[in-house]
């Protein structure tokens, strides 16, 4: 069973009354145990792809089917996709003032468990687990009491996304430019988090501009996205080639 299977996906988005095609016949398959990286110039549709698989409102699917763990998700609500096992690490994490990180994580974990007809994790066990993950990401206990992303630095916000991913243990994690805006130490911490997450049963889709992330999280596949479709696929060496040559030679 593949984790994610996308075939011939075309998507339109309406901005200021005008319909634009943002994905155009995209094809992608991610199997358990694989890490894929998607690179591409600005405006090529990278973040759109992340949003569409997470069923963010505002995108209209024109053709194609998205299968998550063999289930079509084209018509699903965002929370249903999440409950099924898809995690989106946000490029710009949003603040939810007054709702503590711990509280938010528990509500999230409980909702996912409930949807899967599982008992909620006991508060004590849950807090213990979250604290230990937080310290592995160099986040102190005080951090868990603060409002979600409230007054967090850029690095803290990104590490918080990784914390959420490690706590929720999704089947497929889509990380949308999680590396952007990180200094080298934070990049290492985040990468260690992603590597700790990887196993033979789950999958990761990294969306990034820079090959430096791929030095730490080594992908099995690298894809180049341009004008809404994948125009080139390869292994890690493709990322290095892009780094030295840019995108122009492909497009």
């Amino acid at each position: 069973m593949s984790l994610l299977s996308i075939d011939n996906l075309s998507v339109n988005v309406e901005t200021s009354g005008e319909e634009r095609t943002v994905l155009n016949g995209l094809k992608l398959q991610i199997n358990p145990g694989e890490v894929h990286a998607i690179m591409g110039p600005n405006g090529s549709g990278k973040s759109t792809l992340a949003h569409v698989v997470a069923r963010k409102p505002g995108y209209s699917i024109q053709s194609g089917v998205i299968l998550l763990k063999n289930q079509p998700i084209n018509e699903m609500e965002p929370e249903e996709v999440a409950q099924l096992g898809l995690f989106l690490g946000f490029q710009y994490p949003v603040e939810i003032p007054g709702v503590s990180n711990m509280e938010f994580l528990k509500a999230s974990s409980d909702s996912v468990n409930k949807a899967r007809s599982k008992e909620p994790e006991s508060t004590t066990d849950f807090m213990k687990r979250v604290r230990s993950i937080a310290s592995s990401l160099d986040l102190d206990q005080e951090f868990l009491k603060r409002g979600v992303n409230e007054g967090f630095s850029g690095g803290e916000k990104k590490r918080n996304e990784i914390l959420q991913m490690l706590v929720l243990k999704p089947d497929l994690a889509v990380l949308d430019e999680t590396d952007s805006g990180l200094d080298i130490d934070a990049l290492k911490t985040v990468s260690n988090g992603v590597n700790a997450f990887r196993d033979s049963s789950n999958g990761v889709l990294l969306i990034t501009h820079y090959q430096r992330l791929l030095d730490y999280v080594v992908p099995d596949f690298v894809h180049v996205l341009s004008e809404g479709k994948i125009i080139q696929s390869g292994d890690k060496s493709l990322a290095l080639e892009l780094e030295s040559k840019g995108y122009a030679w492909l497009t």
């Binding site: 996709v81 999440a82 946000f90 007054g98 709702v99 509280e103 509500a107 949807a115 929720l168």
Partner: protein, 491 residues
Amino acid sequence: MANQSVQDIIDSEKVYEAGFITDVESETLPPGLDENVVRHISKQKNEPEWLTDWRLRAFKSWQNMSPPAWGHIDHPEIDYQEISYYSAPKSQLDGPKSLDEVDPELLATYEKLGIPLHEQAALAGVVQDSKSNNVAVDVVFDSVSITTTFKEKLAEAGVIFCPISEAVQKHPELVKKYLGKVIPQRDNFFAALNSAVFTDGSFVYIPKGVRCPMELSTYFRINERNTGQFERTLIIADEGSHVSYLEGCTAPMRDENQLHAAVVELVALGDAEIKYSTVQNWYPGDAEGRGGIYNFVTKRGLCAGRKAKISWTQIETGSAITWKYPSVILKGDESVGEFYSVALTNNKQQADTGTKMIHIGRDTKSTIIAKGISAGKSDSTYRGLVRISPTASDARNFTQCDSLLIGHECGAHTFPYIESKNSSCVVEHEASTSKVSEDQLFVCQQRGIDAEKAVSIIVNGFCKDVFRELPMEFAVEAGKLLEVSLEGAVG
């Protein structure tokens, strides 16, 4: 009809006079208000002459007053002759004695609000084993108090907690000394009306140096059709004492509007502290704005002595219209006033609420945290006054007003008034307006939380500073109440 002539009143008196006798048997007065109604209520309560006279003076004042017009609220004129001013179960013995006799709809409401069963029993007026509960409750149905729990246990500590009608009989000296002293009869139209026709409510006296051993709570319920509820609460904390008090309110769903005009007076003497919390959930009317309670309430506390402290916390989710400004007069030097408020309006509800902090003593300090949440087609207004008198040297105030909008058709308004007559004071005001954003909703949904629950989480976070001030037992209840009140707010 509010401005009817004296002749009209005299005429109507004749009509209603005959009505009394038959209706006395069922102990529900027919609609209408005149001097006889006032006398009748006083007689029902077996009140001493001074109180009957006090009521009549209030009634005369009221006749010459008109309802306030400055609120940011809109409603048809209230016909005060269409309201019944007294309604009681035939006998107090008819009150529910066990859970089985309590209205199942009432029980279902509590279940939905997540109040544990033993607490439900106490709220519904069933006397409980004192070990099972640490909250003493006074229960008011329409115009009478049905039961007060834990009276004996409280008496051991010297605390008086009883219906005000009972206090008039048993502790007349205290009632006479303080009634109407914080809120004079003529304070405003609704206070005058209440002074004339008040029926029941709670009376609390905490003696010198006593820390009240449990939370005190009053549960108000409007039940009868066409009746108004005019309860009156008086809380006196003697020197160095401490009390925490909570009131809860509900009413059944009815198509017509019902009036609730309460008066609450608090007196904190030197070094005393009163913490007064409200969870107001009167029927708000339906989605089209039909029915619901008109909640016109006057609440004021007096910090009478040095270092006295009065703290109001209110969670206002119910009522078609809310008009209330729990206030503190900071008379004692170094006294402290606090106001923490969450006002949530949905559908076509209107709320105009806030506080007044009147600084008179030196080194007095007040804090105002007001959170307004508007959803649907509702309107929520914060109105607050901070007055620093010339005598209030080194007074300090901090005010924070935040509004949260859900959807595109609601409104939020802020009217802060600051009057400072002493240059040594420090007054701070912060305000913000925000919306529950699509992005916040999506983030929650992406983490597996459905949209309705997501709004509730976001709103609860927004209210956190206020919920923190509620007694533990009720903080959870308040959160759940917001969730229930927001049902259908996300389309």
